[in-house]
C-alpha cells in the first residue's frame, strides 16, 4: 500500500474537472461524450492555481474539456450555456465573488469545489446572497474537496502557508494568534490525510508547536471518525501497525542548521541560487526575455541527476551532449549525401527505410536536445554564481563545522572577509553558532566584527545567539512549557535541538553527517526502545480516549514526516535515502508548511531578530526586549 500522494491528488482533481461524475471506462475521447456538459470553464483563486500548476498543464486541461480558465478576482464576462467549475478556498471574499457571479448569471451552472471544508456560516452567507438575487437555481453542486495542499513530487508536499516560522516564534504573538496558526496547519494536514485516506498514529516531541498541532489534529480526526460515511472509512479496520503509517510532527527549531547551510547537490543548489517555486525556475535574463523552465519528474535528466553533486552533474551534461552529437551524426550519415555509394535500385529502397527511421527518431532527438540545452543553461548560471560567491568554500567549511564540531578560525574569517553575498556570510556565521556547543566570546566578537565590516545585517545572528544563550542559562530547569511563554518554548525546544545536533555530529555516515531528523524518524519507525524518542508523545485517533492509550509503537512500514516552520530539499533527500536503504524498503512522505531555501529562512530569522529588538546597529543591552 504505497502512499502516492501526487497520484491521489491528481485523481481527485481530474474527477473534479469532469464534474465529479464517474469516468466512462471506455477511456479516450469517448469518456466525455456521454454527458451533455462537455465543455466547461474553470475559475480558480491564486492558491488553488498553485495547487493545480505542478500537477496539470494547460494543454492537459483541454483534454478534460476545459476551454478557458480565469482567476476569480478579475472581472469576467458572460459565457452562456456553459457550466463553470469553481475551485477556490472557502473564504468570505470568494463567497462574495461567487454570489455576485451567480447574480449576474455569468454561466449556465455553477459547480463549486472548495479546497477545504466550507464552514457553516459561510454556507449560510452564500445561501442568503443567492436567494436574495434569485440565483440559487444556478448553483448546481457544492463539494468539499480537501485538497488544500501543493504536491510537488510523489512524496513531497507543502501547505503553502508562508512565514509560519516567524508567526509561531514571534515574541509578541498572543494565544489567539498561535491558535489560529495551529488551526491552519491542522486543516492542511487533515486535507493531506483525507486525500491519502489513512488515519496515522501521531508522534511528536513534548512541548511546543508540534504538540499543539498533534493534539489538535488528533481531536479533529476523532470528531470526524464519528460521522458514518467519513473520509477514512476505506482504511477502517486496519488495526495492525504494519498497515497504518506513522505521522511524525517536528518543529523547525528541532534542527535549525539544515535550513541554513549551503549544499552542494544539484537540486538544493538550484533551489538556493535560482529560487525554485512550484517546480519552476526563472533564469535571470539580460538581453532577451526571462526564460522559465519546469523541473519535475517528467524531465529524465533531472530525475536521475538532481541529487548528484554539482561536478558530477556537469560531467553528465557533457556525456549526454556527446552522445547526442553521435546520434545526430549517425542519422546524417545514413540519410544525407553519400559520396562513395552507387546510386542504384537497392540503395534507393534502403535509403527510404533509413529515411523513415530517421524521421521517426527526430522528435525524440529534438526533445533530448531541448533537455540538454535547458540543463546546460541552468548549470552555466549556477557555475557563474558558484565562482562569484565561492560557494564551494562555504559548503565545505559548513560541512566541516557541523561534522567535526570544531572550526578552523582563520578559514572562517577569511571567507567572511572574502567573496560571497551578505546572506552567504550570515549563513556561515549562524552555522558556526549552531555547530559548536560552546562558542568562546572572543571568536564570536571577531565574527561579529567581520560581519559589521562587510555591512551585513546581523539581526538573524543576534537572534540565534540569544536563543542559544537562553537555552544555556536555563538548561537545568525542567518546567513544563506553557503556551504563552515563548521563552520557555525556545529553551525547551532548543535544548532538544542542541543535543540533537551534537549527537548528530557523532554519527558519521559515509559522505556526510546524518541529520538528526532522519535519525529520529528512523527510531520512531522502528519502534524499539530508544532514549531519544521514548519521551515522544503518542496520539492515536482510532483508540478511545479513556482507554489505556495506543499500543501501536511500531515497526511502521510507512511514515509521513511533517516539519512546521519550513522544510527544504536537503531534508527531503535525507528522508528518501532513509526509506531506500531500510530493509525492507520503507516509504516516507515529507511535508512542510512551506519549502524554504537558505536565503528565505534567514530572512525570517532576521525578521524575528528585529521583532526582538536585536538590531545590528550597536543596540545596547538595555534595549534588548524579550
Amino acid at each position: 500500500m504505497a502512499l502516492n500522494l501526487r497520484q491521489k491528488q491528481m485523481n481527485l482533481i481530474v474527477r473534479m474537472l469532469n464534474l465529479n461524475q464517474p469516468p466512462n471506462p471506455g477511456g479516450g475521447i469517448s469518456t466525455a461524450a456521454g454527458a451533455e456538459e462537455v465543455y466547461k470553464i474553470l475559475i480558480m483563486d491564486a492558491f488553488c492555481r498553485g495547487v493545480l500548476s505542478p500537477l496539470i498543464h494547460v494543454n492537459d486541461l483541454r483534454k478534460h474539456g476545459i476551454t478557458l480558465f480565469f482567476p476569480i478576482d478579475k472581472s469576467r464576462q458572460t459565457v452562456p450555456d456553459v457550466p463553470a467549475i469553481y475551485f477556490v478556498r472557502p473564504t468570505p471574499e470568494n463567497i462574495d465573488h461567487i454570489a455576485a457571479d451567480a447574480a449576474r448569471g455569468l454561466y449556465e451552472s455553477f459547480h463549486l469545489n472548495f479546497s477545504s471544508s466550507l464552514p457553516r456560516p459561510l454556507l449560510e452567507t452564500l445561501a442568503l446572497k443567492t436567494l436574495e438575487k434569485d440565483a440559487v437555481h444556478r448553483i448546481s453542486k457544492i463539494y468539499d474537496q480537501y485538497l488544500e495542499f501543493v504536491t510537488l513530487e510523489d512524496s513531497l508536499f507543502s501547505l503553502a502557508q508562508p512565514k509560519t516560522y516567524v508567526q509561531i516564534n514571534d515574541p509578541s504573538a498572543g494565544d489567539r494568534e498561535i491558535e489560529e496558526i495551529v488551526e491552519k496547519i491542522v486543516s492542511g494536514l487533515f486535507c493531506v490525510l483525507a486525500t491519502l485516506g489513512v488515519v496515522p498514529v501521531i508522534r511528536c516531541a513534548r512541548g511546543g508547536p508540534a504538540e499543539m498541532v498533534a493534539s489538535a489534529l488528533d481531536s479533529r480526526i476523532r470528531d470526524h471518525l464519528v460521522i458514518k460515511n467519513n473520509l477514512f472509512s476505506e482504511s477502517g479496520g486496519l488495526a495492525s501497525s504494519f498497515q497504518r503509517p506513522i505521522l511524525c510532527i517536528f518543529d523547525r527549531n528541532f534542527e535549525l542548521a539544515v535550513g541554513i547551510q549551503h549544499d552542494w547537490s544539484y537540486r538544493p543548489l538550484v533551489h538556493d541560487v535560482l529560487g525554485m517555486k512550484l517546480n519552476r525556475v526563472t533564469m535571470p535574463a539580460e538581453k532577451s526575455a526571462a526564460k522559465s523552465y519546469e523541473l519535475d519528474d517528467s524531465d529524465s535528466f533531472w530525475f536521475s541527476n538532481s541529487w548528484s553533486p554539482f561536478q558530477k552533474v556537469a560531467e553528465e551534461i557533457e556525456n549526454q551532449l556527446s552522445k547526442y552529437k553521435q546520434d545526430i551524426d549517425e542519422v546524417n550519415k545514413r540519410t544525407g549525401g553519400k559520396d562513395g555509394v552507387e546510386f542504384d535500385g537497392t540503395d534507393l529502397i534502403g535509403n527510404t527505410k533509413h529515411l523513415m527511421n530517421a524521421v521517426n527518431s527526430l522528435p525524440e532527438l529534438t526533445e533530448r536536445k531541448k533537455m540538454i540545452d535547458k540543463h546546460t543553461n541552468i548549470a552555466t548560471v549556477l557555475l557563474g554564481e558558484i565562482k562569484e560567491r565561492s560557494l564551494d568554500g562555504y559548503c565545505n567549511l559548513e560541512n566541516d563545522m557541523l561534522t567535526k564540531g570544531s572550526v578552523d578560525k582563520s578559514q572562517l574569517l577569511s571567507l567572511l572577509k572574502g567573496k560571497g553575498t551578505k546572506v552567504d556570510k550570515l549563513r556561515l556565521s549562524i552555522t558556526y553558532l549552531l555547530s559548536l556547543e560552546t562558542t568562546p566570546q572572543s571568536e564570536v566578537e571577531a565574527i561579529e566584527a567581520a560581519l559589521r565590516e562587510t555591512e551585513v545585517d546581523t539581526c538573524a545572528f543576534q537572534y540565534v545567539k540569544k536563543i542559544k544563550s537562553l537555552n544555556a542559562s536555563l538548561a537545568a530547569s525542567a518546567s513544563s512549557a506553557s503556551r504563552s511563554n515563548i521563552v520557555d518554548w525556545a529553551e525547551k525546544l532548543y535544548g532538544q535541538s542542541i543535543s540533537a545536533v551534537t549527537a548528530g555530529m557523532k554519527n558519521l555516515l559515509s559522505g556526510g553527517r546524518q541529520l538528526a531528523l532522519t535519525r529520529t524518524v528512523e527510531a520512531l519507525m522502528e519502534g524499539k526502545p530508544n532514549p531519544e524518542v521514548d519521551s515522544y508523545l503518542v496520539f492515536d485517533p482510532r483508540v478511545p480516549r479513556s482507554g489505556s492509550g495506543s499500543q501501536l509503537r511500531g515497526p511502521f512500514k510507512e511514515a509521513i514526516v511533517f516539519m512546521i516552520g519550513g522544510g527544504n530539499y536537503v531534508e527531503y533527500r535525507s528522508l528518501m535515502e532513509l526509506a531506500q536503504r531500510s530493509q525492507p524498503v520503507k516509504h516516507v512522505i515529507y511535508g512542510t508548511t512551506e519549502v524554504l531555501n537558505g536565503v528565505e529562512f534567514v530572512e525570517q530569522l532576521t525578521e524575528l531578530g528585529q521583532k526582538m529588538g536585536l538590531g545590528s546597529s550597536g543596540v545596547g543591552p538595555s534595549q534588548q526586549g524579550v
Partner: protein, 253 residues
Amino acid sequence: MLGLRELKLKLFRWLYREIKGNTSLNLKKSKLAAILASFIMHKPPQGSLFTKAALKTLKSIIELEHFIVKPRKDYVDLHRITEQERDNIEHEVGFFVKACKDQIDILKNRIHDEEKNGNSKTWLHIRDDTYADMVAHKHGVILILSEQLHSVTTQFDRLRSMRFQDAINRAMPKRKMHRIPDSKSFEASKPEFTELGEQVLPSGPMKVQDQLLDDETRALQVELTSLLDAVQETETNMVEMPALNHLMSTHVL
C-alpha cells in the same frame, strides 16, 4: 468514493426550515417553494446552437476513432486482409477526416457570424466587450475538437507508417532473393552452352536446329530475367513513392 459531501442537502434542509418557520428573508413563500422545487427537479442544461453543433462534431470524431480502432488488428497483420481492402480503408478514413475538418471549419465561421450579430446590437445596451469571453470559449471548443481530430489522425498515421515499413521490408529481401537465383540460372545456363557448343560439330546438322532452339530459349530466358529485374525495380519504386509521400505529409508539413 472518498466521501465528498454534497452540501446542497444542507442548504435544502435549511431552506425548508426557513419556509416552515418564520422566514427572515424578504421572499414570498411561493418563491421559496419554487426554488425548493428546482432543487428536486434538475433541469438539463439547454445548449446553444453552437454547443449542439460542437457536440455533433465530437460524436463524429468518436465514430471515426471507433472506425479506425476496429479493423486495426486486420490492418496491421500482414496476411489478414488484402492490399485492396487496406486501400479502401485508407480512402474512407481520408474522406471521413475531411468531413470532420469541414464541420470544424463551419463552426469556426459561425463564431464570427455570431460575433457580427452581436456587433449589430451595439447601439443597444449590449457592449462589444461583453462577448469577448464567449468568443474565447468558442475558440477553446474548436481548439479541443481539432486536437481530438489530430490525435485520431495521428493514431491512423502510425498504422499507415507500419504498413509502409512492412511493404518496404518485403520489397527489399525480394530483390536480394531474386538476384541470386537469376544469376545462378544465368551461370548455370552458360556451362551448358559451352558444352553444347563443343558437341556441335560431332552431332551434325540434325542437332543444329535443336541448338538453335536452345539458343532461342536461352536468349528468351535472359530477356525474361532482365525484364523481371526491371519490373521489380519499378515495383519497389512504386512502393517507395507513397511511403515518401506519407513521410513528407506527416512530418514536413
